[in-house]
């Protein structure tokens, strides 16, 4: 969900882009983070815990806590709270610790 009206702030959106979340096509804007774009589409679960496979979401949103690690364009452990969205990005829920290629 996006904020439509705000008494102080004007949100200047970048260009509209398409990206994929676990294969599903979603819409977002350049200039925003992957996490923000996912939230705008109602997606709040970012990753799965390694041992108990519990869903994990965004916690700090500034790149400190590692709660939001995802696979982006095949690369694991991307902090989606600080990584900016780009056209055509493939964003996926990561299984386990991820493998470096």
């Amino acid at each position: 969900m996006r904020v439509n009206e705000h008494p102080i702030l004007n949100f200047e959106k970048g260009n509209k882009v398409m990206f994929y979340y676990n294969g599903q096509q979603l819409e977002g804007f350049t200039g925003e983070t992957i996490a923000a774009a996912l939230h705008a589409n109602g997606v709040r679960a970012m990753r799965e815990s390694i041992h108990l496979h519990r869903p994990r979401g965004l916690f700090c949103n500034i790149g400190n806590c590692s709660s939001c690690l995802m696979m982006v364009n095949g690369k694991p452990n991307v902090r989606v709270c600080v990584e900016k969205l780009e056209e055509g990005m493939m964003v996926e829920t990561q299984q386990g610790k991820g493998e470096l290629k």
Binding site: M1, V3, F11, A40, A45, G57, G63
Partner: protein, 358 residues
């Protein structure tokens, strides 16, 4: 290997001010920040600051961030590296930085660590569910990206951050169902607290969160009353229909680099956790390594700017840069800082600093 006179890690309120002051004395500065912008967490502070005019009272944090960043970018003596994360500090005084997938080694003569803080979590069943956020996380989402975290929010903690973020959520059109506070009294300045109360948000003092509900995401929360010994009172449970739980329960200083540098550290709860021992000049036990802002002890942005100013002045002076009004410049900042920390509001900080300064 890059050589620099003063390297500053962190481009938030403390780091930016430090850079301006050090460069003002004539030092050549390299300022690094892991983000692609300068300003740190000021960029989401839409509320007006208060205090004196010198403390930029009545200015919004977002505007202060812009002004400081512009001044830094204009200053020839400051080299800014953004998207540059300080990864480590080595015994020979080298800072290793990662920028654009490349490693840069920086050898400064003086180092100022202004890395800020990170939000604390709280223990309760289901605290790991998506929908449990740090209050600052939600503030970033709403104020920087214009995206809502959910529909109905429970705020845990009625300190300044909890109350300010609650108000900012209301401004963004998000419903705040209530604010709970474990202490018997609201910690926030009354100026901020009265705004949310006027807007109809209940603040429950002496209350804690018992648990969150939900399978894949937060779907509710149970809160309960605490007695005067901070123990939960059975039978006082109250169910809240919320899909967001915001934790505003304090921050911890980000001190990894300082640990690595071998600075003497001390656990000081009043300052948010482990902090480096420092002298009056904000120099740590490792000569030439200075600290400023939340990394030195959790306080507010106004204090971070003043500490940044002091660290910048002291580091440049220690480099050998002299100006005729050095003493006056320092005294002005010290006076402001002491003013900010005076009175009952500053009691905790004063107690913490008394333990941290050697």
């Amino acid at each position: 290997m890059r050589q620099t006179e003063v390297c500053i890690i962190g481009g938030g309120p403390a780091g930016l001010t430090a850079a301006l002051k050090a460069a003002g004395l004539g030092a050549e500065v390299t300022l690094i920040d892991r983000n692609d912008y300068l300003g740190g967490q000021l960029i989401k502070q839409t509320h007006r600051f208060f205090g004196s005019k010198e403390q930029r009272a009545s200015e919004r944090g977002i505007n202060i961030a812009r002004e400081l960043a512009e001044a830094v970018e204009k200053e020839d003596k400051i080299t800014v590296l953004t998207k540059a994360a300080a990864l480590s500090y080595y015994k020979d005084g080298v800072v290793m930085v990662k920028q654009n997938e490349r490693i840069i080694k920086i050898k400064p003569q003086k180092l100022i660590v202004a890395t800020g803080g990170s939000e604390k979590n709280l223990m309760f069943p289901n605290n790991d569910l998506p929908g449990v956020y740090g209050a600052g996380a939600v503030q970033t989402l709403v104020n920087v990206y214009g995206v809502k975290p959910g529909r109905k929010v429970l705020m845990v903690g009625a300190g300044n951050i909890g109350v300010i973020v609650s108000y900012q959520l209301l401004q963004a059109g998000v419903d705040v169902v209530g604010i709970i506070e474990a202490a018997p009294k609201i910690g926030a300045y009354w100026v901020h607290a009265s705004k949310v109360v006027r807007a109809g948000v209940p603040i429950y003092a002496s209350h804690t969160i018992k648990r969150a509900w939900g399978e894949k995401e937060v779907a509710g929360a149970t809160i309960m009353k605490l007695d005067e010994k901070w123990q939960p009172v059975p039978g006082t449970e109250k169910e809240l229909d919320v899909d967001v739980i915001c934790l505003s329960v304090g921050l911890s200083p980000l001190t990894e680099l300082l640990w690595q540098a071998g600075c003497k550290m001390e656990f000081i709860p009043e300052l948010g956790g482990h902090v480096p021992v420092r002298n009056e000049d904000l120099e740590t036990s490792q000569p030439g390594i200075y600290i400023a802002g939340d990394a030195a002890g959790i306080e507010e942005a106004s204090a971070a700017m003043m500490e940044g100013a002091l660290a910048g002045l002291n580091a440049a002076e220690a480099m050998g840069y002299k100006v005729s009004d050095f003493k006056e410049q320092k005294e002005v900042v010290m006076k402001e800082l002491n003013g900010l920390r005076s009175g009952p509001v500053g009691e905790k900080i004063r107690k913490g600093l008394a333990k941290a300064i050697s």
